[in-house]
Symmetry: C2
Subunit: 110 residues, 2 copies
Amino acid sequence: MTDSASDIFSALAHPTRRQILQDLKDGEMAAGEIVARFNATGPTISRHLSVLRQAGLVTERRDANRILYSLVGERLALSVGDFLSTVCPEQIVLREVRKRSSSRPTEIQA
Amino acid sequence: MTDSASDIFSALAHPTRRQILQDLKDGEMAAGEIVARFNATGPTISRHLSVLRQAGLVTERRDANRILYSLVGERLALSVGDFLSTVCPEQIVLREVRKRSSSRPTEIQA
DNA sequence: ATACGGTGTAGCCAAATAGCTAATTAGCGA
DNA sequence: TCGCTAATTAGCTATTTGGCTACACCGTAT
């Protein structure tokens, strides 16, 4: 029932989740690897990850018995940037990443 | 207890509050004027306004027996923009401001 | 002084959130 | 198959959030 912007901003409302996104900026990480960076328990971080996943801000991928998470930076930039440029267009600029039909799937960064 | 980024993103998490900010984009509005735009009751909107005020996203000013709210777009752009440019710097550009600590005013597209 | 229009506060309740521990699922290797 | 590691799900509790109604507050003007 909640729109996607609400999902995204709610996800960003928690410091731990923002930190996770920041950590993922440099590449994918396993769940346990992420857990190790915080004081919270595994299940707690797992929950945070599922919030981020539902918001579409991260994707997961299996590697053996580990699960690797990676940032979906485009979605973050587009959704938040869209809002920002509606409310205060003078202060922010979205770099032309718009629809661009995403020709190549994976290659955002590496 | 909660940092200011959390306050801001939490404030943005609610559709009504985002809409209020958007409405304030074109200039200040009285509380009652804002209330008139939604289906919620006065007290409910008043509460939303206080959340926005605590987050520093709006300021209030008295005019006779009305209270006029206005957007603090700079704070919105700076806080959210800061986060965005940390996590996905490739996709977003903060336009100048930044109290001149940052060397380059960043390129603009307009 | 009193009344009134415009707002915010108090108090209540239902629902959602965040944390934990314990239990469960999924994959890999012997 | 069994055992081990990795991660999520279940279930619980405490806290916060969002909505309402009723009430109190503050200026203005009669």
